[in-house]
């Protein structure tokens, strides 16, 4: 009846996961109870859960990313503190638990922290920057989000019911095959990633279609803001790379469930094939995350320098070059398998070449600041810190791309320090730069700068403090994923890295406090104009938060930096543009399809993990039925009358006019 699921699946004897999970469960139940009792549920259901508005979905993605970043960070605290206590000692986490934690840390940070955060920002910003009303397929967008949430849920369920993978975040066979990992851990990994991977792929299709087919009139490709370019490149990579991951994990699933031999090193199977396929997805994945990050930095640096992005076309070429090159480097993940001098040499060089367009970007950001009027707001601080620290990660990356250097550094903590150096400075810094930058657009008030800066400084110092010792200890030959060790020289550096985690923790706390303080002081931080940073692209041309239809009339784009041109004209003429003729707007209807689909997908995932076949069949049938019901719908859109559009737009125009006059008065004085 319940497959492999029995009471023994719940780790009553392991206090750490049980208490952690109980706590999370209590908080979750508390929130749900509060929402229902306070009568907020209908509002949540109507405005968020069933919403197909790209802005709402983007916000939910970012929220999921934030929560999962904290979950992943708590894994990091466990790992670092454990290792600090594991010199000639067993530490406090037994191997089978420690192994789950580093596996979960990587999986969560990549798939459920960084990915939702970046996809969320793209979802929220891209249609606004393109001057359009929604993404190409709004309901599909909702399905994508909820499937991602399903994956995150399954990973967290594994805390209490069963176990998570003990194989590392890429489950390399034969260790991940049924012989060596008979538990459900790898299955949790497989189904969580497969389900959320479908969401990611659909989200990629959605955003690419949006960017290619739905730009505002006059918005030619070479007038798109840099963030849209990087979003396009990133989503093209998603479309090209995620099917490889899906197929690879499907093969591993067949091995584990039906006794196939794709990767078993038996009956013609070969585990190296998994490594090849996994990294054929895995290396582009790095750029799926990094490219939108580069886009965010481009927007932020240009805005807060009060200048257009330096060498915009060069940046576009660099972006596209990275997009293509990212598929030519995967083999550097296994220089140490002994592929021979020619193969290693070629892939060493291709891996280095990718540093050229990246270096160009770095220099162009520098020159964007040159001749500017740099305002050191929180997003700008994150961006400058990114440029300064990222070049170190880039350099160690090039170092690792030299095969003979990789022969001694592969799998070492030097490598761990390298990819955290690049991923934290690029993706996490960009995430928080973007979050602070676009928060006022989403909610109509800015985030508290004092707490934002505190969060920034603690995070920056903590991050340098944690990973510098790891570089050093890597050069001393320490490898990753050690549950305990007995080399005296490593010990002080491991302790030093653990102390850095405390500083990073302070940064996380400040980040949370910033949000709470800002919500409480929202009236004080209110921005009525919709353009709090003196922005340059179209998202700042509409109100904050934007109305559901984004723009009352479709903007006409007449050059690069569409909104900057409009704003300059308004400043010169000391008046806004003529009021347009308002027309009714058609918007897509809300739909619970995504949420219901994800509910059934959760059932399917859970049932497959525990071999509860009837439930899996039921879940599949339910998901299909949901799709059929959606496909047979009668009404697709609803109409917002012209008067309502006019009323909403006039409010924003009034605030903007006032801001304009204020600016002129200030200038005159």
């Amino acid at each position: 009846m319940l497959g492999k699921l029995t009471w023994s699946a719940i780790p009553f004897d392991q206090p750490i996961p049980l208490v952690a999970a109980a706590l999370v469960g209590l908080v979750l139940l508390g929130v749900i109870a509060w929402v229902v009792l306070a009568g907020y549920f209908p509002y949540l259901w109507r405005e968020w859960i069933t919403s197909v508005d790209h802005k709402r979905i983007g916000v939910m993605y970012v929220l999921l990313g934030l929560v999962m970043l904290i979950r992943g960070f708590s894994d990091a605290i466990l790992m670092r503190s454990h290792q600090a206590l594991a010199y000639n000692a067993p530490g406090y986490l037994p191997p089978e638990h420690y192994d789950q934690i580093f596996s979960a840390h990587g999986t969560i940070m990549i798939f459920f922290g960084a990915m939702p955060f970046m996809i969320g920002l793209m979802n929220f910003v891209v249609p606004l920057q393109l001057g359009v009303r929604d993404v190409a397929f709004p309901t599909l967008n909702s399905v994508s989000f909820w499937l991602t949430a399903t994956g995150a849920l399954l990973v967290n369920v594994s805390l209490v019911i069963g176990e998570f993978a003990r194989t590392g975040w890429w489950p390399s066979p034969p260790l991940s095959e049924i012989t060596y990992s008979p538990g459900v851990g790898v299955d949790y990994y497989l189904w969580a990633i497969q389900i959320s991977g479908i969401g990611t792929l659909m989200s990629g299709v959605n955003l690419v279609t949006t960017i290619l087919k739905m730009r505002a009139p006059g918005m030619s490709y070479l007038r798109m803001p840099m963030f849209c370019w990087t979003a396009l490149a990133s989503n093209l990579l998603i479309i090209a790379a995620f099917p490889i991951l899906t197929a690879t994990l499907a093969m591993l699933t067949l091995d584990r469930y039906l006794g196939f031999h794709f990767f078993t090193d038996e009956a013609g199977g070969n585990s190296m094939l998994f490594m090849n396929l996994f990294w054929a997805w895995g290396h582009p994945e790095v750029y799926i995350l990094a490219l939108p990050a580069y886009g965010i930095f481009s927007e932020v640096i240009s805005t807060f320098s009060g200048k257009p992005l330096f060498a915009y076309r060069s940046m576009v070429w660099a972006t596209l070059a990275i997009c293509l090159l990212s598929f030519t480097v995967w083999l550097h993940h296994f220089f140490t398998m002994g592929p021979g001098g020619d193969v290693n040499g070629v892939f060493g060089i291709t891996s280095m070449i990718i540093a050229v367009p990246t270096g160009v970007k770095i220099f162009d950001w520098m020159f964007t600041m040159y001749g500017g009027r740099v305002r050191f707001t929180t997003p700008m601080l994150w961006s400058v810190a990114f440029v300064v620290t990222f070049v170190v990660g880039g350099a160690t990356g090039v170092l690792l791309a030299i095969p003979p250097a990789d022969f001694v550094l592969h799998n070492s903590l030097f490598l761990v320090a390298h990819f955290h150096n690049v991923m934290v400075s690029a993706v996490v810094f960009a995430a928080f730069a973007g979050y602070t930058y676009w928060f006022p657009k989403a909610f109509g008030f800015t985030l508290d700068e004092w707490w934002g800066k505190a969060a920034f400084w603690f995070s920056l110092v903590g991050y340098v403090w944690v990973f510098t010792p790891l570089y050093v200890v890597g050069l001393m030959g320490m490898t990753r994923r050690m549950q305990h060790f007995s080399v005296a020289e490593w010990y002080p550096w491991i302790v030093a890295a653990s102390l850095g985690v405390i500083v990073m923790f302070a940064g996380v706390v400040c980040q949370v406090v910033q949000l709470v303080v800002s919500i409480r002081r929202r009236e004080h931080l209110r921005d009525l104009t919709g353009d709090p940073w003196d922005g340059r692209s179209l998202e700042w041309a509409t109100a904050s938060p934007p109305p559901s239809f984004n723009f009352a009339v479709m903007p006409h784009v007449e050059g690069e930096e569409a909104y900057w041109a409009i704003k300059q004209r308004a400043r010169e003429q000391a008046r806004l543009r003529e009021e347009p003729d308002y027309e009714p707007v058609e918007m897509p209807l809300n739909s619970p399809t995504g949420f219901v689909c994800a509910f059934f997908a959760t059932l399917v995932g859970f049932a497959m993990i525990w071999h509860i076949w009837w439930l899996a069949a039921l879940g599949l049938a339910g998901a299909f039925a949901t799709f059929v019901v959606f496909a047979w719908r009668d009404r697709v859109e609803y109409e917002i009358p012209a008067e309502a559009v006019a009323r909403i737009n006039r409010l924003n125009r009034a605030s903007r006019l006032e801001a304009l006059q204020q600016a002129r008065r200030k200038e005159a004085a």
Binding site: P90, P95, G348, V388
Partner: protein
């Protein structure tokens, strides 16, 4: 002082002493570690060549990234909004000359480093034998769950979790795995290489100083992974011959005793075998001997520990 007051005090003193002791270890370690960078302080020609590449490439890149870091901070600070002396050029967004430099600098660097990568990949290919007047020592390596087996085909002996090599003689390793992947690595000798079941990989190393080095697995292989480290003793020819002679007295390693060894678990101390079934290595590679069995049956749900942490060695 009454007993119930002394208790916490004494405990406190003990904790303090423990913290001080650990603190002293930390401080001493930090002072030592300057000269303890294993990778930069190699004990063999392969490691030395790789250290050399590491240093040269790092210096070249520092020449680029340090000015970049400084430049970024200088630009950001000089052009701060409050600096009235900085010239604001709100429309300056392109310069062909700067773009030429901006594309050329990384390109030239990469061309140069690419050359190092290409030449280094060939010269330091792990499969390439080390040139020497001396006859190389052949060692066959099998990674097991969770220990290392070293077979000496010419000496007809074997050892577990201890590798002994003569100083100054090239060592030719042929490596495979009984079960999952591992990676064989002796940091002070240089290059690591993966071990994979049903496949062999090749590695050539040489020690040029006597001493005991640290060897380990660098590819995660399961719960006992952290115990897969072993001493590598680089000894004189005489000492090597003595060691071989001593090992001859050990038990025989045949398919049956290999089967026991292949079961999951760690070994407390190195051991050796006085004779080895001929062709054992070949049979492991072509899989006519059963693979490592993995966790015991019934380890299905939950996560029953298959290995007890030893807490170091």
């Amino acid at each position: 002082m009454r007993a119930d007051e002394a208790g916490p005090l004494r405990r406190g003193a003990r904790v303090l002493a423990a913290v001080t002791r650990r603190g002293a270890v930390v401080a001493a370690g930090l002072a030592l570690s300057g000269c303890q960078m294993s990778l930069l302080n190699a004990k063999g020609p392969v490691g030395a060549a790789e250290a050399n590449i590491l240093i040269v490439a790092t210096v070249i890149m520092l020449a680029i990234i340090v000015p970049t870091m400084i430049g970024t901070l200088v630009f950001a600070w000089w052009f701060r909004a409050s600096n009235t002396r900085a010239r604001y050029r709100p429309d300056w967004a392109f310069s062909g000359k700067i773009e030429l430099v901006v594309w050329s600098v990384p390109l030239l660097t990469i061309i140069f480093l690419g050359g190092i990568a290409w030449i280094g990949s060939h010269q330091l290919d792990p499969a390439v034998p080390i040139e020497s007047d001396r006859k190389p020592l052949r060692v066959q390596v099998v990674s097991l769950d969770w220990k290392w087996l070293f077979l000496y085909p010419e000496q007809q002996i074997a050892s577990v979790n201890e590798l002994v090599v003569p100083v100054g003689a090239p060592v030719q390793f042929l490596l495979t795995s009984s079960s999952v992947w591992n990676s064989f690595f002796v940091p002070r000798l240089g290059s690591m290489i993966y071990t994979m079941r049903g496949m062999t990989s090749q590695l050539n190393l040489m020690a040029d100083q006597e001493g005991t080095l640290h060897g380990l697995s660098t590819h995660f292989s399961g719960d006992g992974f952290s115990d897969m480290h072993f001493p590598v003793r680089a000894v004189s020819d005489g000492a090597f011959a003595d060691w071989v002679q001593g090992a001859k007295a050990g038990p025989r390693l045949d398919a049956a005793s290999y089967g026991d060894l292949a079961k999951q678990g760690t070994v407390e101390a190195p051991r050796s075998y006085g004779s080895v079934e001929p062709d054992l290595f070949r049979r492991i590679v072509d899989q006519t001997i059963p693979k490592g069995p993995g966790p015991a049956q019934g380890a299905d749900n939950g996560a029953p520990p298959t290995v007890k942490p030893k807490g170091g060695s």
